[in-house]
Amino acid sequence: MSERVMDDDAGLRDGGLADAAPPTDGEARAGGLGRWLSARLRRGGRGLVIAIPYTWLLLFFLLPFAIVAKISFAEYQLGIPPYTPLVEWAEDTYLRITLAIGNYQFLLEDPLYIEAYLGSLKMATVSTILTLLVGYPMAYGIARAKPSTRNVLLLLVILPFWTSFLIRVYAWIGILKSNGILNNFLMWTGIINEPLPLLYNEFSVYLGITYSYLPFMILPLYANLEKLDKTLLEAAADLGCRPWKTFLTVTLPLSLPGIVAGSLLVFIPAVGEFVIPDLLGGPETLMIGRVLWSEFFNNRDWPVASAVAIAMLVFLVVPIMIFQHYQAKGEKR
């Protein structure tokens, strides 16, 4: 809490510095006291404006992580809350601080957690590639369509995004399950004699992620491909370049920023995904988000769940943020 107050003050002081540079006409006319008063007021207003979202984020975003970190060093116990206190008064005379690193040791020793972490990375990578393969031709096709059709097509891409995510995942259960629509259809046509195992395996999770995140891939790709300078393609064609070669040597390299942006938008939520592996995946589909969920809701082990969250933060979120930071810098240059 004291940190917050300090920061607000800093905001005020600094705001004053930035604002002091060019005095407006009104201020100049108002003279000494009035000028001082209005500058003071503006400084206060500026600090207050910054303080509102700042306080909210410190309280509801940063502080929670401090608490998660704290609990990850506690031990599980039966009771409410279900973890041991970190700091306690031993015989009312001195403070005793107990840091239990057992939770982190446990994460390293039990192969479940590392496998789940690697599994998440694998699932997210494969489905990002699949989404790119489906999304790129679509984005390219939309960018090449007539402007009037283009708007309709874009609307059609965005529309599923506004409908419930859960419902769209649910739709696949009815299609893929062993007496589902697809198996019934295939058996009716006589292509197969017994139902294929389409649901509750890795295949259905890949399908679910690709399906759910396809709009996230198409939109940035489209935005990039639409800006593509068509004269470059014409020049390549005039110089006798074959369409496929033009695509590979001109279009594809130029659309690389769009590919990176779209892939990140798919990869990041896919890595921490819980709903899709839980509803479409089998028991062997290990993903870290699902492990955290079951650690918390099924085992009620808050300290281990917290340790998993901290590990995810360090090995997943922080690298992604650093990558994004440098990528944004690179684009500006």
């Binding site: 404006v49 975003f61 998660v68 390219y140 259960i173 969920w293 943020m321």
Partner: protein, 281 residues
């Protein structure tokens, strides 16, 4: 040349079929008479009737709508201020931390956000007794926190496209910053405000993970009811619910698109009229 456009057309066809066929099948089978959702036996609207008599689902829908409304409103207010701070306030102490905290929710897995907020609420209750238990208010705070980042991104990008000289002119003419904001900036960015609110509303309505962590026993949201029912298998009632949700979303989008198009053509007309006016002089 013809080869390639054939390829693109096929890709588009398959892509859109991939996007829409599942939703279409969902809608068709919501009118199925059979209790086994995927075995067609005849047309019926009985599941819609059962849906409307299901108090569990109706209560949860009401909870979800309230949470979505309040959290979207809070997050639009906070997100607008945050976007404004990022786009217009220049340097201030703690800016790096601020922009970090503002953009982190965009990449934060939902399970982490949910867990951390729950632990915060539990700790706060133990320390100061507020919030008492968890319910609509804690879900609202959680949703406002993770959606405000998205609102801030929209507002910030709109502000960076906007012509700053109008604001500067008003300041030069002696208007106070607050007045400039409410009289000039806010009306200009109002479409972005609406877009941000709608996005926050949809994300809140759609969220399962964060709500599951931060809800209490008496406050179950609609996605939570759907999830626990879907975990047990497909049910025709959920198909009926899905159809209604898709219908509402589609109608909202179409109305919004029509509205934006009308506004745009009006703006174009005005611009054409203005330039015609200029030509006369």
């Amino acid at each position: 040349m013809r080869n390639r456009s054939f390829f693109l057309l096929t890709a588009l066809g398959f892509g859109f079929a991939f996007l829409y066929l599942p939703i279409l099948l969902l809608i068709i089978y919501s009118f199925n008479e059979n209790r086994l959702v995927t075995v067609w036996s005849g047309f019926s609207t009985q599941w819609y009737g059962e849906l409307l008599r299901d108090d569990n689902i109706l209560d949860a829908a009401w909870v979800s709508l309230r949470v979505a409304f309040f959290s979207a409103t809070i997050s639009t207010a906070l997100g607008t201020i945050a976007g404004m701070v990022m786009a217009r306030f220049g340097r201030f102490k703690g800016r790096t931390l601020f922009s970090g905290m503002l953009s982190a929710p965009l990449v934060m897995p939902e399970v982490i956000t949910g867990l951390s907020l729950l632990l915060l609420f539990v700790a706060l209750e133990g320390l100061i007794g507020v919030p008492q238990g968890r319910g609509v208010s804690t879900i609202t705070i959680a949703h406002a926190t993770f959606t405000m980042a998205f609102v801030a991104v929209i507002i910030q990008s709109r502000l960076s496209q906007m012509d700053e000289s109008i604001e500067e002119a008003a300041l030069d003419l002696g208007a106070r910053p607050a007045k400039v904001f409410f009289a000039i900036t806010l009306p200009i960015i109002s479409p972005a405000l609406v877009a941000g609110w709608l996005l926050a509303f949809t994300m809140s309505l759609d969220d399962l993970v964060v709500a599951s962590f931060t809800s209490g026993p008496s406050s179950t949201t609609l996605p939570m009811v759907v999830f626990s029912s879907v975990r047990l298998g497909v049910s025709p009632k959920i198909n009926a619910l899905a159809t209604l949700l898709v219908l509402v979303a589609a109608l909202t989008i179409l109305i919004a698109a029509w509205f934006m198009r009308r506004q745009e053509s009006q703006r174009e007309k005005e611009a054409a009229a203005a330039s015609a006016e200029q030509d006369r002089f």
